[in-house]
Symmetry: C2
Subunit: 581 residues, 2 copies
């Protein structure tokens, strides 16, 4: 096995072509094995094996610096740079993350997990190199999918005028996570068709030198192109045409399905019929609405998987579905204008990615008070990588004026809120789609959500009140039972629903027969929901405790560890209450 002998990039440099080809196969086996056991990015990594070998063959990492956009294509690099055990030996899988991470290796220059950042980061590396009068190559590797992001374009615009060494390898596998969307992809297609010779070339237009490599899975072709470019003093694009999923036939064909997969994909079981869940009721709801209203439009920023916008759903929606590509800023402005002009947009976006849109939420949407509906997916404390935390959407969204942000706690509330959000015409509405256990009361929710900031009293008690937001409402109910059991007190339990407002009357009423209020929110406390409750009671005699996540980047910490650390179990909450009773 050749891979066994590869402990650092220098071990690549003496390999023969034949050995490198064997190595490619070994790397592919490692990728497939790991992903099949713990899940991960499959298609993009399989496609970039040869290019990664060639990069390490020609360039000299860590002196030469690589930046891997979004890290969806970093597994082969990890295997070459001393981390092969993370692919060969299941015991070590959890030691090696799926993303670029300098804590793991000197060959990783940044922690990266959001798209379209690599060119800007590489530009900064190159500029600092020049300021320090040093000499080496700075190389960004970016997929065609990431090129639709505004930050990538801002980076291109600045990289091209650097007057110095910067090399951007565009890995064109003809796919984003889903199909590419956007005008630039017509140009990439033209460039592929003409083997890079078309006069009209977006990269040259932006001021770059340009090379095209048709056989982007051919190591020798890649080596030649990289050698030609190494040491250049002119900002250069190397456009390589690769096959996403290469070496695993199903991934070559079903590119979207195998972009990222859960474990056990080799079993090839047909995905079983989904039971009803928050995703299916969302898409069912949208389809039903659309049947009677041609202005309903579902929008995704290149992540249909987040909201389970299936192929079937997309087909049924037809022109009433827009994938804007990786372009979250555009997505918000687009949704705002659709709503302003009388259509009913529903934008589905993951909590971690809505971070890319603060100013669009503020200026394009909220300031214009456009009645668009934004669905925030996966919001909550999680065991995710540090790059994909979904704990910041409450402070992000809820401190912007005009937006009404709601956190339903079960199926019926969620559907009633969706219905209200889409049909009302007064506010931008964001909904934190319930996440986790699927809860249905079986009773249609008749609440009039146009009466903003009216909290729901689930259980009227005394002494202690628990205000438990969104998908921590269940924790609130459990805590109430624990309090009753341990203290013999029946506490009040409140489902606030509205993240963005205070039910002043209800809170005022609580003062009469309560001494302690606790707030629970599934996200970072700082700047979030609970602090506003505490502020309300700032001058009262009531004691308020806020429970939620700490302001920190956690990295693959198991949920139960985090819950314990943050005192987010009924037992620990009661312990804390006891201190103040």
């Amino acid at each position: 096995m050749i891979l066994e002998k590869i402990n650092s990039p220098k071990d690549i440099k003496n390999l023969s072509q034949a050995e490198m080809e064997i190595l490619s196969e070994e790397i592919r086996e490692g990728i497939i094995k790991r992903v099949n056991i713990i899940g991960g990015h499959l298609g993009p990594d399989l496609g970039i094996v040869e290019a990664t070998i060639a990069m390490h063959y020609v360039f000299d990492s860590p002196k030469d610096k690589f930046v891997f956009d979004v890290s969806h294509q970093i597994y082969p690099h990890k295997m070459i740079t001393g981390r092969k055990e993370g692919f060969l030996n299941p015991e070590f899988y959890s030691k090696i993350s799926g993303y670029s991470n300098p804590a793991e290796s000197i060959h990783d220059n940044f922690i990266i997990g959001h798209t379209s950042t690599s060119i800007s980061l590489a530009t900064g590396l190159a500029k600092s190199r020049d300021l320090k009068n040093e000499k080496y190559n700075v190389i960004a590797l970016i997929g065609d999918g990431s090129l639709s992001g505004g930050e990538a374009y801002e980076g291109l615009n600045n990289a091209s005028i650097l007057n110095s060494n910067i090399i951007i390898i565009v890995n064109d596998n003809e796919m984003s996570i889903a199909q590419n969307q956007g005008g630039i992809y017509k140009n990439l297609e033209l460039l592929r068709k003409t083997k890079g010779k078309a006069e009209n070339n977006v990269f040259r237009a932006l001021g770059f030198e340009y090379l095209y490599v048709e056989e982007g899975n051919n190591i020798l072709d890649l080596i030649q192109a990289f050698k030609e470019t190494k040491g250049t003093q002119k900002p250069t694009i190397i456009h390589i045409h690769t096959l996403k999923g290469k070496g695993f036939e199903k991934a070559e064909i079903e590119k979207e399905r195998y972009h990222w997969t859960l474990p056990n994909f080799l079993d090839n079981k047909q995905p079983k019929e989904q039971q009803e869940n928050y995703d299916t009721i969302t898409t069912d709801f949208i389809l039903k609405k659309k049947a009677n209203d041609s202005t309903i439009i579902a929008i995704t920023p290149a992540t249909p998987g987040v909201s389970n916008f299936s192929f079937d759903f997309r087909e049924k929606m037809g022109a009433n579905y827009t994938d804007v590509g990786i372009a979250e800023e555009h997505a918000i402005a687009y949704a705002s204008a659709l709503a302003k002009n009388g259509a009913k947009p529903i934008l589905a976006i993951m909590s971690s990615f809505v971070q890319r849109t603060y100013d669009q939420l503020s200026q394009d949407l909220a300031l214009n008070n456009s009645p668009a509906t934004i669905l925030i997916y996966w919001g909550g404390i999680s065991s995710a990588d540090a790059t994909h935390l979904c704990t910041f959407d409450i402070p992000l969204i809820s401190n912007i004026p005009n937006i009404v942000y709601l956190a339903p706690t079960n199926k019926e509330e969620y559907l009633a809120i969706l219905e209200w959000a889409i049909e009302q015409n007064e506010y931008p509405v964001a909904i934190r789609v319930p996440f986790g256990e699927y809860i249905s009361t079986g009773i249609k929710d008749q609440t009039d959500y146009s009466k903003l900031n009216k909290y729901k009293i689930h259980q009227k008690g005394k002494e202690i009140a628990i205000i438990a937001l969104g998908n921590f409402f269940e924790l609130g109910k459990q805590t109430a039972k624990e309090i009753e059991k341990r203290l013999g007190i029946i506490p009040t339990v409140i489902n606030p629903i509205y993240i963005t407002g205070i039910d002043e009357k209800l809170l005022k009423d609580l003062e009469k027969d309560h001494k302690i209020i606790i707030t629970l929110e599934n996200g970072v406390i700082d700047g979030g929901f609970g602090e506003k409750i505490t502020r309300f009671y700032g001058t009262s005699n009531i004691k308020v405790l806020n429970f939620g996540g700490k302001k920190e980047f956690t990295d693959r910490i198991p949920l139960e560890v985090l819950y314990k650390k943050y005192h987010l179990t009924k037992e620990l909450i009661v312990e804390d209450i006891l201190k103040y009773l």
Copy 2:
């Protein structure tokens, strides 16, 4: 006077060429007169007069819908659409804002004041039109400067694949606010030189039909191009070459100086030598640093005026200065990588525009813990337009992990913090540059700012403590005097400096002999600094009152009115305290 007879766009349609040319001159006079009295955007509006007349001559607003990017070019449109009094009659100036505003006119489709949003908004208008089976033209007008923003590119990418009517007029006046920066400007230059005939055309590459109008200040040429395009079903760029500042010679020559001006520019006084202020000490500091350290680099996202990065400063900085163009996202990632690679970047950005970078602050900067220095300018409650409020940076920045955000209160603190920020290597640091009255203690600040979250006790008293942040520290001191005067109590006064942390020991100590804590911050309270203090005291017997701005978009409300509304005067604060004593 022809303008007197223009009350709506339909009054344009019967004008002869000669009359339109006279009208152009009258509009110019109106612009110059207004800007000379109340200040505003001069150069871009003077350059777009003919194009605006031609737009209204050919298209039928409000049926056809215009979107004005950033609104720097909207004065002529306002004069044609029933708002000429806002330019002819100083009495009415304040009724008409400098920005696109649907509340003023049915001919304005959005409130707009941040750049690069028009294409995305227009795409949403066009798509909703199609969903509703309506027919009309949607036209975005965007300046060349705004084309460097990522949101504009995301919009282009999506507009070009709309398969329907959308017309984007690119107003190429060869300038951003300052000089254009970025690769795309080489292509615009090539297109101008070849009269639009160059094969390599970034707009065609992105999938657009393309027309070029060399004489962008010639009404007939413009009318012809617009007529040719009207009703098109293909996404089309009309690239018009205009003269920024046209008709006012100085503005034609000194394009940056006259992009936006203060009142009385016609007096043509030489700008007087600036007295020492927070801007001058910043640039002096940076220049001095740079003299001894080649890795110091100042960065602006196309707004050197915000930080007073003068021509002289830029020249002296040379390669140690980067204007990244309107590309705030890139600016943060670029700064992060510069810092990570051992350089010392100082990014200067206006509070309102740092909003465009939440995810870059979080992912590119904070998650990577890059020791870059970000200077936040103009942070605070203001009488600005709703589009340019600077009240949200505290909730925006301070709820992101890892970033240390500080609010110095005078010259000496500011310089000491700057020095520490630039030389330290542990944290991303943001500094809220003091704004307003220039305060110098005359005593060098020897504080060790590496000891995070250590608040300063300015005055030790009892009963009441005032924690007054940043440029509300002076208000805090005044309030202390008022309390002493009215209540005979000497309160404690604290200068917290650190926005992002709690001085737990100090706060704990206050509990001993204080009953009321008040916090003062110059920004929106929600999600801000004071709420964290209140949370800290949530379970104590101390009463806490938070003072700051309300979560709302205010629009040109005089500062004294806002201060009164928010109880931000010493008298009103004392009144509030009295309720709880």
